[in-house]
């Protein structure tokens, strides 16, 4: 069974502008993952460039725009994105500069991630073995720590498209709340002070594109709501 696949192509050394190229892929009637389809195209055309690593939804390397919706190519089956007789359209994640073909420059995304200080801050003397948490406090981190930084959420967010240098974005804010909610962290006040400007958090207008696309089923909008409430509590 032949599947028509349109792939975004751009090699800055050869092309003046990006273009879409059509490929015919024989799926043999199987419900392949989108990454499998890309690998079959790569056999036809070795010049195609894309990122992938673990091929099982853990590393977050192959975040792509698949038929208009961001997702991980390795865990997105064709049956989920292509109706019978339709084409598969693969583009790079939106809003980030293109390096080549489906590979984007993630610098802006990581810069925002760095801003929120994604590590535990605790200046008190370290105990002999480890900093303990109650099971209830540990439960607060569920739905937050699982983020794999694939950037599917932030690159589906218009606020991040327009202000990638100022708005932290859903992925960064999910991690910001992950450390704000951690009972072992002692820098809550400093963390909140870094988020109270009009851009970092408050550019989120709650349209929930991030929730819609997250391949891990996480809810950045909810985390952003918690941060907003913490900021409001701290300021009043």
């Amino acid at each position: 069974m032949m599947l028509n696949v349109q792939v975004y192509r751009y090699n800055p050394e050869e092309n003046r502008e990006p273009y879409m190229r059509d490929y015919q892929v024989n799926t043999e009637g199987k419900d392949l993952m989108v990454l499998d389809v890309l690998n079959l195209i790569k056999q036809q055309d070795p010049t195609l460039v894309y990122r992938r690593s673990c091929r099982e939804g853990v590393c977050g390397s192959d975040g792509l725009n698949i038929n208009g919706k961001n997702g991980l190519a390795c865990i997105t089956p064709l049956s989920e994105v292509v109706a019978a007789g339709e084409s598969l359209v693969i583009r790079p994640l939106m809003g980030l500069p293109i390096i080549r073909d489906l590979v984007v420059d993630m610098t802006q995304f990581y810069t925002q991630y760095e801003k929120i200080k994604p590590y535990l801050i605790n200046e008190t003397p370290a105990p002999a073995i480890e900093r303990l948490q109650s099971p209830e406090d540990r439960d607060k981190l569920d739905g937050l720590y699982e983020c794999i930084l694939c950037a599917c959420c932030s690159t589906s967010c218009p606020s991040f498209w327009w202000n990638p240098d100022k708005f932290v974005g859903p992925a960064g804010l999910l991690q910001a709340y992950r450390f704000l909610a951690d009972s072992r962290d002692t820098a809550q006040r400093e963390r909140l002070a870094g988020l109270e400007d009009p851009f970092s958090v408050f550019r989120c207008h709650g349209i929930m594109n991030c929730v819609n696309v997250c391949p891990k089923g996480l809810n950045p909008t909810k985390a952003i709501g918690h941060i907003r409430n913490m900021l409001l509590t701290a300021a009043s």
Binding site: W162, E196, V201, F202, L232
Partner: protein, 113 residues
Amino acid sequence: MAKSVTNFSGNGVSDWLIQRVSAVVLAVYLVVVAGWALFSSGGFDNWHGFMMSMPMKVFSILAVLSLVGHSWIGIWAISTDYIKHTVVRLAFQVAVVLALLVYMIWALTIFWG
């Protein structure tokens, strides 16, 4: 942390709160004025008397201030999204703020004058 000189309060938390409170004030004001228009006997004298009563004077001024704050915050956000040229964006934001201040002073003179 990203700062802005043309932002209403300079603080995201304050802007967020003002945006919500002003929205509630405007919604209630709309209901009160629409309610009067629907259920009163009408006429300019009745309208004038209603609007110039002390509670409505205070409420109207509150609504005008809410409108100014709400618009300032909203249009500032939209213009920082869509107008990427710094000079054009600043000129637009200053023009909007000046217009809003003119409307505010005008409304204050009507209700307080």
